[in-house]
């Protein structure tokens, strides 16, 4: 359908509007947006801001009132909706697995709709179960009710990936799980996306999740107006206005540290395996900072070298610990690190 590509396709929204009859204002008002092929773009905004409606117009679960949608250059509104949806992966918070079908049948549903031969469907289902870390021999013939919430959400992702669509729409697909499972699923998903390079629109109201997952973030305000569209690092460093700053929260600098790893900072010396608190390779700077605070030390050692508090301040742009600069609230008065975000990007 989209030139048979399975790697991402570019999505373009032009003056996209949805006005429900009988409502004074449109739910989605004149949205223009370009989503580059192979990127994961997170729509983040408060409940009722129109982010889900915007997403659902792309696979036409909601028909736009006016405007244009193009995927890989193709005009989506000229395609047959059911056929279109078979080529767009779709995962939702409530998962919506069919309880009367086995896990294998659930995952194989879209390939079956597309008329794949049975052998190819079976092979694909096996592959996808392994991909989302569910042992095929154990899970293939089970039913959704026999799975935990986290396992069901993995199946939901596998089902969305089934026909290898170039574009995926995901509406808080990890929302219904406990924080530990969610974090685990998010990490797995980031790893998966690095391999698959799909174009993904991911809707969430959780800004932390947006930072962790997004190549880019679209911060939306009411009626789906775009407040800012940029990379996570850029939004954290330079929020466009007070609305975005409010979404970012008071700990923007800590969040920026969470995006960086110890390898991203120039070490002040060679690794010191003894005498200093140790952090592993790939640790986020936020976790490294947590380790330093916990040990009452202004430095720690990683396999790539010794890291200092001053160097940490340097990377997030404050220069020195007693900052007088742009973000006086952030570094000097460190909030308690009770909510450490494990990096993992």
């Amino acid at each position: 359908m989209f030139d048979t590509e399975t790697e991402g396709a570019r999505i373009e929204l032009r003056a996209l509007t949805k006005h429900y009859p009988g409502q004074p204002a449109p739910a989605v008002d004149n949205v223009d947006l370009d989503i580059p092929a192979g990127e994961l773009v997170v729509f983040v905004g408060p409940s009722g801001c129109g982010k889900t409606t915007t997403m659902k117009m792309i696979n036409r679960l909601v028909e736009p009132t006016s405007g244009e949608i193009r995927i890989g250059g193709k005009d989506v509104l000229s395609l047959q909706p059911d056929e279109l949806r078979r080529h767009i992966g779709y995962a939702i918070q409530q998962v919506g697995l069919f309880p009367h079908l086995t896990i294998g049948q659930n995952i194989g549903l879209v390939p079956k709709l597309l008329g794949w031969p049975a052998a190819r469907i079976a092979a694909r289902v096996e592959e996808l179960l392994s991909l989302v870390n569910l042992e095929p021999s154990l899970f293939h013939d089970r039913y959704p009710r026999q799975l935990s919430g986290g396992q069901q959400q993995r199946v939901g992702v596998a089902r969305a990936l089934a026909a290898d669509p170039p574009v995926m729409l995901m509406d808080e697909p990890f929302g219904a799980t406990d924080p530990i499972t969610r974090e685990h699923l998010q990490k797995e998903f980031v790893r998966l996306q690095k391999r698959l390079r799909k174009t993904i629109i991911f809707v969430t109201h959780d800004f932390e999740e947006a930072i962790k997952l997004g190549d880019r973030i679209v911060v939306l305000r009411e009626r789906s107006h775009i407040a800012q569209y940029d990379t996570p690092a850029e939004i954290l460093a330079r929020p466009a206005d007070d609305y975005v700053a409010g979404f970012v929260g008071q700990d923007a600098t800590l969040k920026r540290l969470a995006l960086l790893r110890v390898e991203d900072v120039a070490p002040v010396g060679p690794p010191q395996p003894t005498g200093l608190p140790q952090v592993a390779a790939g640790t986020s700077l936020r976790e490294a900072l947590d380790v330093m605070i916990a040990h009452g030390s202004d430095r720690c050692s990683s396999p790539s070298g010794v890291l200092t508090y001053a160097a940490l301040c340097g990377v997030v742009g404050t220069g020195r610990p007693s900052s007088t600069g742009q973000e006086p609230e952030a570094v000097p008065s460190l909030p308690a690190p009770e909510k450490v975000v494990a990096g993992g990007r």
């Binding site: 679960l61 056929e83 949806r85 069919f98 079908l101």
Partner: protein
């Protein structure tokens, strides 16, 4: 003649009446299931049609069976015709109601997931909503069956088939020879038929409700 002697001596008559009773109920419930489930599938999404069909089938149920059977005589005559029409009509309400409730009770997100994957409206209805609503629909059919097994006895008034003849004959001659035995035989026969139908539906349920809906964690 005691009861068991009566049953043995009238076995031919009794077994034929029982078989006719079962047949009348089976035909009526088969037709009512087809019509009722079909109606439910068609109207479950349109409030006006849904309310109209439920109101109509409820109205039929309020007509006393004796009156309905009598009113049908000019149209469908005495015997089987009127019996089957009346039984079918009475069986409709629980089936339509449970079909509508079952189809509409399917989780909206499950339906949306199906649509979002590219299943057509009709496919979601037949492949997702119907199987998920099936246990409830089957319960409706089962309730209807139990109800019309009793009503079928009254069909004897319009010369209909079944065990009702035994009951009414017995009652009209009460005090005379074998009157009590005839009434008792008819009544107990109906109880046995009701139990057998229930066993049948238990088996149908076990065989047709998707396994995924019966499994436990």
């Amino acid at each position: 003649m005691n009861f068991s002697e009566y049953v043995v001596s009238r076995w031919d008559t009794l077994s034929l009446a029982a078989a006719e009773h079962v047949l009348a109920v089976a035909i009526a419930i088969g037709v009512a299931a087809l019509v009722g489930i079909g109606t439910g599938l068609l109207v479950h999404e349109t409030p006006k049609a849904r309310n109209a069909s439920l109101a109509l089938s409820a109205a039929i149920l309020t007509v006393p069976s004796l009156a309905l059977l009598t009113l049908l005589i000019p149209l469908t005559g005495l015997g089987w015709g009127s019996t089957l029409v009346a039984l079918t009509a009475y069986a409709l309400l629980p089936i339509i109601r449970n079909t509508v409730t079952g189809l509409n009770g399917v989780d909206a997100t499950t339906v949306e997931a199906g649509r979002g994957m590219g299943m057509s409206r009709a496919r979601v209805l037949m492949k997702v909503q119907l199987p998920l609503a099936w246990p409830l629909i089957l319960t409706g059919v089962r309730v209807s069956t139990q109800m019309i097994i009793g009503i079928a006895a009254i069909a004897a008034y319009v010369d209909g088939p079944g065990l009702g003849t035994q009951i009414f004959e017995g009652l009209s001659r009460l005090g005379s020879v074998n009157a009590l035995n005839a009434t008792l035989a008819g009544t107990l026969g109906i109880v046995v038929i009701a139990v057998l139908f229930d066993l049948f539906f238990y088996a149908v349920r076990q065989l047709t409700v998707p396994r995924g809906l019966r499994v436990r964690h």
